[in-house]
Symmetry: C2
Subunit: 587 residues, 2 copies
């Protein structure tokens, strides 16, 4: 059973809540992308995802990939090639890319929605396009004119696809250790080294594959400051095969239809992108965008798992309601939706899922402001918010998404454990998201080590001002009181913890690192509380059934989920002592 | 990489802590099973598990099973047949079965340890023996003499294997709905119906398969009180094929080498076990034992995942220590064990894992007292404790075990997601344990609906007396104070919550059911706090390095894990309102 209805009503609600029309569609370059147009477009996208991508999702998982060591080629599952061609025909491969390079120039927010629908219906397949978008972003930001003119039109049309080549066998998290070399030769370079975990590093979907590779120039400084960025095509512009080969595929728990390649660069020709030794900057352009999308994967796959479990539950009868009034007359068993625990599990998913999607679109709107608003101050404020919330979206989104899929499996009992209902695939496919694009702990270190200290804590203060002004503006709204009170307390608590953490961390960085992950989660629970309040405010204004459900779901979040954050405060207080006290041999 | 060292030192420590020698080995029937003898035996078992079972674990996962629809036969992975023969030669298949029926008459505690080692090294394979043991237990308790004499020697020798046939397509949790019929014919019955989820319902490891089948006699009362128990062999005693056929296998996320069969009974001959219509009683004998072992699966697989991650981490260098004193001179990166977050993840596992194993053996010792002590009062008290703690061990053991394996995967980063390190298999294999043998929520309902009310709350009071007397006895021990204080608080809190829950539940059963799962977890955190205190007391007495590590690990539990239970109190207070307020359409 592969069940999916794109949550378009929900998406529209959230775009309204976070002021998409006023903030994004009002910008001159996005005049074609007002809310109604976007939703019409998303309806088409949803149809494509549900009708074309979803039917190949389980098949891709089961068929997997075939690597031929002799030709060093990768055969994707049957149907993927035709699917890719169909996706290309849609004309939306370069959705958010600049119009002058063949893109559609759509807002980033629209790209994020598309990404959610694609990931939900076929994560493996969607990764090829995802990486290509990331490469396009990096080239737009850092490429030379000739590089843009040469590569972007082919990438935005989907004739060619892209990759990111960062990791090496001895370095993933710690890229400063990387050893791939780039030797100058004429206008270009020759690259030598081994890269691993290269998503869609080799495949049969497109004519050419363009790799963005991190490598060191001769005499480059050691560590992270000696890394440069290169564009390395599978086929050179004259069509000759460039010696960058796939030498093997990883065997993974999930995403079986997404080739994870070991790439061997054997004097492969490449062109420098941006300045020498400044490669990490360019890579971060890609990574920040990618991290947001990875965070959304939790939402996307949580959604399809939720819908699947709901279809199962609505069809399943087992046991009687404990409330005689709810027992169906003449039936031997009631539908399991009568059972409180089944509802509890659904609400655990629903109340976090809808908040995380809200967080994503709040970030999305600000991403567009940061990229496209004419006022520098608006751009800066929006950029600060995006920078602060990206690690939270990535880490908490993927972690909670995984737990939500796990909960959906539990609802289905034994059926959830079988391939019949596909939830087991969603669980396996989603698990990688807690690891790639910077493990979740790396996100936490990014939050406490880079984002919090930036500009003397300005990012945090600006975030907090969103909450404070919301509380001020709504303090007299009686219907909001039950939500405002815990939000106020949560944000006050987060403020105190943040200050303490800053002081402890200054004295001893290990103190901060030891609690970075719980701190990120504490931040996330607070941010989601804010996102819920904003949604409730709009929901109350609607006065309809949809709004009423929103309020109930928010109530569940505040009373049944937010309390989970209490433990984090104690854990953060406990600090590093219990963690660092053991010698290595004691583990 | 399949890495496993049986935690024999830890096991011995726990057996000492929970008084195995004084309580169990002192019973006359267990005189051959004193601690030293048991540990010598377990060394042999560990060798067999590590050398024979573990090497076939990943292979079994990858090869899977072959079902031939024509012959309705199941071919197990290559090597399994020889492995089963080797296991049989060991002579320990009937480890805990009575000596008069070919068993070894070992204590249940010893069976539990064996089960842990077997599950850790090859869960799929171990399930065949597990089900056979369960059948043996049921026959010993409820079988007629001729049944015992006929079947037990063949089962304890491993010539034949056993199954439990409960579930039908329309009923799993709610067995009252089952429709399989048994019509009398001579001294026996003819059974007709379909059973699903039948573990090792068909295979090629043994000469015969003996099914314990739930079915209804003609004119039986409706519901759970009209179910009888039958013994249905694959081959009748005269060797003729009995019409109970495997018609298909489930395709599952994990335990790929354990056949999960659809069984079709087409007038299959069976013998009544125990009294007519009292089948559920017999089934519960099997299920309670099975639930304990399933709870232990979380410990078993958490252990092998922990060891695997530790081997990975001790070999992996990435980044520098934040403490300059810990930076290795001349190295470009430090071993990742210097990083606080890596240690945090290991301690999350270690501090719950060691407590859960302690809980298991505490239950184990009491299981033996309940079965074998000459004094009826001792038997009753022990039985009460086992009854109360069984749902907690099953539910929290499997849930935390799954989360622990998930944490182990995170420690390994990308490598953890690949088949190379096998953690992904442990994660997949362990996931079913939250579902089978009664889903974890069914355990919670068992706890609040059956175990708490039994004998006017005597079970809880007896459990609480263990904690109270421990606190009393150790209140002047200064070294224990930091552990005693939070234990006291936790048990007081559990007492209050239990009383409130009882009162609310009496008025409205939905109120109790809505919070049963969080309540079970609150109980588990408290029980583990007690188990840790008992361990710390013994550890302090040792005064050695092993004891010192125990104390540090306990401290982590109290300061970094136990706080997770705070949220549960609030969630239980919130009650059913937020859960039952939504109509089905609102989900």
């Amino acid at each position: 059973m592969q069940i999916y209805n794109a949550p378009l009503k929900e998406i529209r609600f959230l775009l309204e809540v976070f002021g998409y029309n006023e903030k994004v569609a009002s910008l001159s370059q996005f005049e074609d992308y007002d809310l109604d147009s976007v939703m019409a477009m998303m309806e088409q996208t949803a149809r494509f995802c549900t009708e074309k991508m979803l039917p190949l999702n389980r098949k891709g998982d089961q068929d997997g990939l075939i690597f031929d060591p002799e030709t060093q080629s990768v055969k994707t599952p049957e149907g993927f090639k035709a699917l890719f061609a169909a996706a290309r025909e849609q004309g939306t491969m370069g959705l958010t890319a600049p119009v002058e390079y063949g893109g559609l120039g759509a807002p980033q927010t629209v790209g994020m929605i598309t990404s959610e629908l694609a990931t939900a219906t076929n994560k493996s397949f969607s990764m090829c396009g995802g990486l290509t978008h990331a490469l396009v972003d990096a080239l737009v930001a850092h490429g030379d004119d000739w590089q843009k003119e040469t590569f972007l039109p082919k990438l935005t049309s989907g004739e060619w696809t892209g990759t990111m080549c960062l990791t090496e066998p001895h370095c993933g998290t710690d890229l400063g250790l990387l050893t791939t070399k780039a030797e100058p030769e004429g206008d270009a370079y020759r690259l030598t080294g081994t890269k691993i975990w290269i998503t869609f590093g080799e495949h049969d979907l497109a004519d050419n594959i363009i790799h963005l590779v991190l490598a060191r120039l001769p005499g480059a400084p050691e560590g992270i400051k000696g890394i440069s960025l290169f564009l390395v095509p599978k086929f050179d512009l004259d069509g000759t095969r460039n010696p960058i080969f796939c030498t093997g595929l990883e065997h993974k728990m999930g995403i079986h239809a997404s080739p994870t390649c070991v790439m061997s660069l054997e004097g492969a020709k490449g062109w420098l992108v941006g300045e020498a030794h400044k490669g990490m900057r360019g890579m971060f352009t890609m990574m920040n965008a990618a991290r947001l999308l990875v965070g959304q994967e939790g939402v996307a796959m949580g959604e399809i798992a939720y819908q699947t479990a709901l279809a199962f539950a609505k069809d399943r009868r087992q046991g009687r309601s404990l409330d005689p009034a709810k027992q169906e007359e003449g039936a031997k068993a009631d539908n399991i939706m009568v059972h409180p625990d089944v509802r509890r599990m659904f609400l655990n998913i629903k109340s976090t899922q809808e908040a995380l999607r809200g967080l994503a679109y709040w970030i999305g709107v600000n991403l567009d402001l940061a990229h496209s608003h004419p006022d520098a101050k608006v751009r800066e404020d929006a950029d600060d918010l995006v920078a602060l919330l990206t690690p939270i979206m990535k880490s908490f989104g993927t972690e909670r998404g995984f737990l939500n899929i796990n909960e959906a499996m539990q609802i289905c009992g034994g059926a959830g454990y079988t391939t019949d209902w596909s939830i087991e695939q969603y669980l396996r496919d989603s698990r990688i998201a807690l690891i790639y694009e910077g493990t979740n702990h790396i996100q936490a270190l990014d939050l406490i080590g880079r984002k919090l200290p930036r500009n003397n804590g300005q990012l945090y203060m600006k975030f907090n001002e969103h909450i404070s002004s919301f509380i001020r503006e709504n303090k007299d709204d009686a219907a909001m009181a039950e939500f405002i009170a815990p939000l106020k307390e949560a944000s006050k608590r987060l403020g105190q913890v943040t200050m303490n953490l800053g002081m402890k961390g200054m004295q001893d960085p290990e103190e901060a690192a030891a609690v970075a992950s719980p701190y990120l989660n504490l931040f996330a629970y607070t941010a989601l509380a804010y996102v819920w309040c904003v949604q409730v405010k709009a929901a109350l204004g609607r006065g309809d059934a949809y709004g009423a459900t929103k309020v109930k779901t928010a109530r569940y979040y505040f009373q049944n989920v937010l309390p989970e954050s209490d433990a984090l405060v104690k854990i953060i207080e406990a600090g590093k002592a219990n963690i660092m006290d053991l010698s290595v041999d004691e583990f």
